[in-house]
């Protein structure tokens, strides 16, 4: 959704060249003055986004006995390796699970009309109404021992239902539900943009519905899939609230490590180092996705 705006917005300034000449001189003065309006927001972003990021990176080196001490202790400790592995593992699982449930949903949404369309889009927007805290908490209510699902399983005759909360599975379930709109909406946008002529053309060439989907619709929706997956991946890797509320010992993620460090006043140095690691794996994830999908596809969606 973001990348598309990037692309569309870029078409704006290019149009100025087409204006009649007499006006363009007058406009150039006004336009450059209008351009100055972006200075205050830029200054804000520099102070509230750029500077904190820079400070975090520099703290990871300087807030330590020696410049690489934080990195050495993070790399050599099996605890941090576990957090890193959990983060990557959970993020990939969530992305896969979200894609699996979102594609059919978006596909049906792109075909639906009337009441069905209202139900499908309301259900996908509805969770937007509540925060990650609320949504994770509501899963806690559902999944906890003696909770709704647990009782239902007991009523069905299971004397020892499986533990539903405090493990990787519950974190993945919670994050998948929270991530669904991020993936459904871009896929839906890509699907409704597929022109009916293409489908008719495929049909006139003798393709059945499955073949049309495989060779026309699906490839055209891939950029939407890619952008959505990126959002989900980044979101899942940086998530804190959901693993904190729904997770257990086998699902502690980097963000939780960062919060533990900060709240126990163990100093910002190690927390910053973990933050830098989180940035690095996020960038690695983005680069990998760009390589798979082709960077141009990402920016064209």
């Amino acid at each position: 959704m973001t990348a598309s705006h990037l692309y569309e917005v870029s078409a704006g300034p290019a149009q100025t060249g087409r204006a009649p000449r007499s006006r363009s001189a007058l406009r150039a003065i006004g336009a450059s003055r209008i351009g100055l309006l972006c200075l205050p927001p830029l200054a804000y972003m520099a102070v509230a986004f750029g500077y904190p990021l820079g400070l975090m990176i520099s703290d990871s080196f300087t807030d330590a006995p020696s410049s690489l001490a934080n990195y050495r202790s993070v790399v050599s400790s099996s605890l941090y390796a576990t957090l890193l592995w959990n983060t990557v593992r959970i993020a990939l699982l969530v992305t896969a699970a979200t894609l699996l449930v979102s594609y059919p949903y978006a596909y049906l949404m792109s075909r639906a009309r009337g009441a069905r369309m209202i139900v499908l889009s309301a259900a996908i927007v509805f969770p937007f109404l509540s925060s990650a805290v609320v949504r994770s908490f509501t899963w806690e209510v559902i999944l906890e021992p003696n909770g709704v699902v647990d009782r239902a399983l007991r009523d069905l005759g299971l004397s020892h239902p499986p533990v539903l909360i405090g493990n990787t599975a519950s974190v993945v379930i919670g994050l998948t539900q929270i991530s669904m709109p991020f993936l459904v909406l871009p896929i839906y946008a890509a699907l409704v943009a597929v022109r009916q002529d293409y489908l008719s053309a495929a049909a006139s060439l003798g393709a059945n519905r499955l073949a049309t989907f495989r060779h026309v619709t699906m490839p055209l929706s891939l950029p939407g899939v890619l952008v959505g997956c990126l959002f989900v991946l980044v979101y899942a890797m940086g998530s804190y609230v959901t693993p904190q509320l729904l997770g257990g010992n086998d699902s502690v993620m980097i963000s939780q490590g960062i919060v533990l460090q900060v709240q126990n006043s163990l100093g910002f140095g190690v927390a910053s180092t973990m933050g830098v690691l989180l940035i690095l794996i996020t960038v690695a994830g983005l680069a990998l996705a760009a390589k798979i999908g082709g960077a141009r596809a990402v920016f064209r969606t």
Binding site: G12, P52, S130, V134
Partner: protein, 274 residues
């Protein structure tokens, strides 16, 4: 063949119904439990009562948090709407070198893990002595909100024919007046959608606020997070009810201002290309 098709259709239908249950089920169950007459979380509840809503509404700590959350969200909405409007207008109407890159820079917080933003802001604001203040909280949360404003405003700004502004200016209106009288009314829907997203970015935030709040200075999501880690009972479910109500009001607000979902940007994008 037709039997297979029927089975396939039923399979898809079952999947979608399961997914809708997955999407709305937990919140619906929690909202139902918030009206329970007992303190256990039995589903369905053994009796009905609104006492948990009354309990929460009269609790000074929850009231304090709700007030702080509202204040912060309102200020974040104003700050990020003004900054976002300036940035979008300058980058789309002004001739700015590297406008595309700059828009990308403004949208970077969207693809930055929130925990990173939170940690960086905590470092800076603690050093400045602004941690635990409303000013610090608004300063920090506006980073989360600004990209949403820019995305929504620039979409509607690009849809405005700039000749309308030029016509007003050729009739003698100063650029600022032509913006105020011509452009602003035409992009109010984008501004409203951006403002709702900005409000919700602050109202729902429990990560940036995590490091910037403290005892006696908590936002609603932070107090909720703190509370549910110790125990869950219908009173926390009632807080969820209140939170949902405010978010619902915000979204309905957008419907009233301009008839369009806040996600309209996405669907409109699809329409343009089809």
């Amino acid at each position: 063949m037709s039997l297979r098709k029927l089975a396939g259709g039923l399979g898809v239908r079952a999947l979608i119904i399961a997914e809708i249950a997955l999407l709305v089920g937990p919140l619906v169950v929690t909202l139902i439990l918030s009206f329970s007459a007992t303190s256990g979380l039995n589903f369905p509840p053994h009796g009905w009562s609104d006492k948990w809503y009354v309990t929460v509404a009269s609790d000074p700590q929850w009231r304090q948090s709700a007030l702080l959350s509202l204040e912060a969200a309102a200020l974040v909405t104003v700050v990020s709407s003004v900054l976002g409007l300036m940035a979008s207008y300058a980058l789309i109407r002004g001739r700015v070198l590297g406008a595309t890159t700059l828009i990308g820079f403004f949208l970077l917080p969207l693809v930055t893990p929130t925990m990173i933003l939170a940690l960086g802001l905590a470092l800076v604001l603690t050093a400045w002595g602004l941690s635990g203040t409303l000013a610090g909280l608004v300063f920090g949360q506006s980073v989360l909100a600004l990209p949403f404003v820019i995305v929504n405003v620039s979409v509607s700004l690009r849809a405005v024919d700039r000749n309308l502004e030029l016509a007003a200016q050729s009739l003698g209106a100063r650029p600022f007046r032509s913006f105020l009288v011509i452009t602003l009314p035409l992009i109010k829907r984008g501004i409203a959608a951006g403002a709702v997203f900005a409000f919700l970015a602050s109202w729902d935030d429990a990560v940036v606020a995590l490091f910037l709040t403290g005892p006696g200075f908590q936002t609603l999501p932070i107090q909720l997070l703190d509370t549910v880690q110790d125990f869950i009972n219908p009173s926390v479910a009632a807080v969820t009810g209140y939170l949902t109500l405010v978010a619902l009001a915000a979204v309905i607000g957008v419907f009233v201002v301009g008839r369009g979902l806040p996600v309209g940007g996405t669907s409109r994008m699809g329409d343009e290309r089809s």
